[in-house]
Assembly symmetry: C2
Homo-oligomer: 209 residues x 2
């Protein structure tokens, strides 16, 4: 006997694929949708169903966008001599909302992760290197996450850029800065509760006061 | 400047209405959907958009179903003399999966909750009382949740049934049992960590051994 209608069962199965939703929370979300106004479920469903059709990846920075090149890459007001390299589109959103960075971005599409079978060739690293040709770019901020995979990816990208630079230096002079976001205590932190690595990094990177 | 395409922004807004999803987790779910295979988002979207069209509420028990009366209400193999009263369809699912109950159900559609503006008239209590007329029902298991609102709703329903019974008793004889699920220690529990109310209830309800 089917206790629930087949489409509700189907919905629960599909929702369970979303990271962070187990069988119980998928069931709760399904119940919420069942008891929501019809207009809401209709709208949400249609947005999800047509999601991929209206999305493109910017051919310059590989961010998700409604057109390519994206608004940021296309903008004349943004400094093209500085590129901030991030893991995914949410990081671009975080920088745009949280900083006054006015350069360009490059979205890697992930990090190098042998465990998950993701190598450098699965990311947009080669396309980033291509963007450096021509000599317009003066600084690369490698803003991958400060964890093991993010650090390893940052190291890999740095090495790739240095390989390119040494070749490029033979031909013409080039001054390319490679930077990484500062590590240290987060604002509002309590020294007592800071973890070892953070404390060590904040010591190493201490600044003149 | 719109950093994200408008449909992705829309998606994030809509997802935030789901209980348990804040702005950050809604953004993560949106990113997951963006990077999922197109077949998956298409299927999920269509199931959600058409959810309401394929769902009816059983006119007997008010459970969600694909037809009315639902399979359980329609079944000749289930004991119609015993009704298990639950808050929502997920509870029916839990009983069907976890017990061998072979009676019928009645789905209230929530609990009495003055804070949320939900009164007895918003639930299917009157319809439950109607089902008791005729005298076929011998037991009502009030299986609302063992919390304040669930208890209050159970008390209310009990009183309504008693009001009906005393009237009915004037006409003919009637033997209607009203029961509530046992309270006590959950299986695998550790006495040390049991909360006061649970411990008290398990004392009060101790059984012969």
């Amino acid at each position: 006997m089917n206790i629930l209608p087949s489409n509700v069962q189907k919905l629960m199965q599909l929702l369970q694929r979303i990271p962070g939703l187990g069988p119980k929370s998928a069931a709760r979300v399904a119940m919420f949708l069942l008891t929501s106004p019809k207009g809401y479920t209709k709208e949400l469903g249609e947005v999800i169903a047509n999601l991929k059709e209206e999305i493109v990846y910017c051919k310059m920075c590989f961010n998700i966008a409604s057109s390519t090149p994206c608004e940021i890459c296309d903008s004349q007001e943004r400094d093209e001599s500085i590129i901030c390299v991030v893991e995914d589109p949410l990081d671009v959103l975080a920088f745009e909302n949280g900083t006054d960075f006015k350069g360009k971005y490059h979205v890697l599409g992930g990090v190098i992760s042998p465990v998950n079978g993701i190598g450098p060739e699965d990311l947009t690293i080669a396309q980033l290197i291509n963007r450096l040709e021509g000599g317009k770019v003066k600084e690369i901020i490698i803003a991958t996450n400060p964890n093991i995979e993010g650090e390893a990816t940052a190291m890999y990208i740095k090495q790739e850029i240095l390989n390119l630079s040494s070749q490029a230096l033979k031909v013409g002079k080039r001054d390319l800065k490679i930077t990484r976001l500062a590590r240290g205590l987060p604002s509002g932190a309590d020294l007592e509760y800071a973890d070892k690595t953070t404390l060590k990094k904040s010591f190493e990177g201490r600044t003149n006061f």
